[in-house]
Symmetry: D2
Subunit: 143 residues, 4 copies
């Protein structure tokens, strides 16, 4: 059952800053884009309000940086499902620069999203992950 996903991102010009390297916040874009591609790979869309009446706000994100990325470098985002709780999912990410070679790990991160619905007043409330989603996702053994 799906528990991981890999995706290549290219460092674009707008992702860099005047230090000449990737801006640290660009990794959070890559994490989210990878998460959403993972969900699509399950035949779903992260925008599932109409189908399941739930959304996925983030409750915690982090990133550690081990080395720089430069314009036009290609980086593999390796997503692994690290935790599947009743009402939340935590993804771990390892980022490896794959171009230019040699392949080298440049960052690690994680993202925890909680499954919420909205009550009549528009207030968000955590709810169990719908079975149709939870049953399609597994926790990775190596996290």
């Amino acid at each position: 059952m799906p528990h991981e996903f890999k995706m290549i991102h290219r460092v674009e010009f707008a992702d860099t800053d005047m230090a000449g390297l990737i801006h640290f916040s660009s990794y959070f874009r890559y994490m989210e884009v990878t998460e959403h591609a993972f969900i699509r790979s399950l035949g779903l869309s992260i925008v599932m309000w109409e189908t399941f009446k739930v959304g996925w706000p983030r409750v915690r994100v982090e990133c550690e940086y081990n080395g720089p990325l430069r314009f036009e470098d290609e980086v593999e985002a390796h997503l692994r499902v690290r935790e599947k709780k009743e009402k939340s999912l935590t993804y771990g990410f390892i980022f490896r620069r794959v171009k230019p070679e040699p392949v080298v790990e440049v960052a690690r991160g994680s993202l925890t999203a909680v499954c919420v619905t909205r009550d009549g007043n528009g207030e968000m409330k955590a709810v169990p992950i719908p079975e149709a989603i939870a049953s399609r996702i597994n926790v990775a053994e190596s996290r």
Copy 2:
């Protein structure tokens, strides 16, 4: 009657790119932030769906660049209402670097937004600007 608005923006680190200067797209952020501050200065909010059932998608934007901006430079965005049609507003913008001195014009731009509502199917449709809004905005003489 209000027809212009000025606002200072500071060039932040994330607004720069590896060329060491401001990324060209940052000016569109400044235009929009200035437009929304102008609307607030009228006692309104650009998010007026609940009050007036209208939104303001953009139909045209442009920007011409005359000189660079660098990190921590301060730039004045000078908004002028250039055109007020039945269903749309066009703003002109002049950007002047005000710090460091000397003051120098660095860019000019424009933004046209159309007043729309949504029909029962969620489709957007241009509608006349609500009187409560149109009556508060004037076209600037010097545009």
Copy 3:
């Protein structure tokens, strides 16, 4: 000789805003990413300071919006070289939503970049496009 280039972009979550649609500024990211992919398709990199001692600041950009794009829509950016002057290049862009179908044009834009070098004081100065670059790019007949 190369005079056009096509590339598909997916509308990511961070590209949307609270109106539920793509934020207008996202198109400028797509334009630039497409421009740089076009340059790579010629065997070059837009970051050519070390090879040719030139950079490509923008002097003018614009975009017209004809229809909305939504999260996970796929949009084809069709770049055409519209003008090749001694010291600048102008690209025209047509954006067509290709997924979901039917295919529909959603925006048109253009971007003019000038070829510059830096003098001893770091000041930018327009210079002729290096022959190695100019000789690889042609103006598209249909612009």
Copy 4:
């Protein structure tokens, strides 16, 4: 001696996403803008390559989200120096929505930046924080 800094940020339209709330990555922009304003409050600029031959890449960032922010909300970023090591600084951030009232904490984060120089090959290497900087910053008692 300076060990904390407060700054108000307004949630701008481009900071929101289709969920109708602030996009989680916007907090990292607020953290960085606040960090740089803190450094300016010391009479310095974070871009100190010419003066001190050092830069400040990030080695770790994180953010926990406790509640939503909406368009035009005002949020106070409260920076505190949490750790001052020989070669790195860690800042803690508490974000409180201050408008509309009531004041409520919406997020907490941290950012660790390392002081680096570049050797002859352009490789980054951690170095002790220049005395002129280290002597101006204190660790906050309450962190």
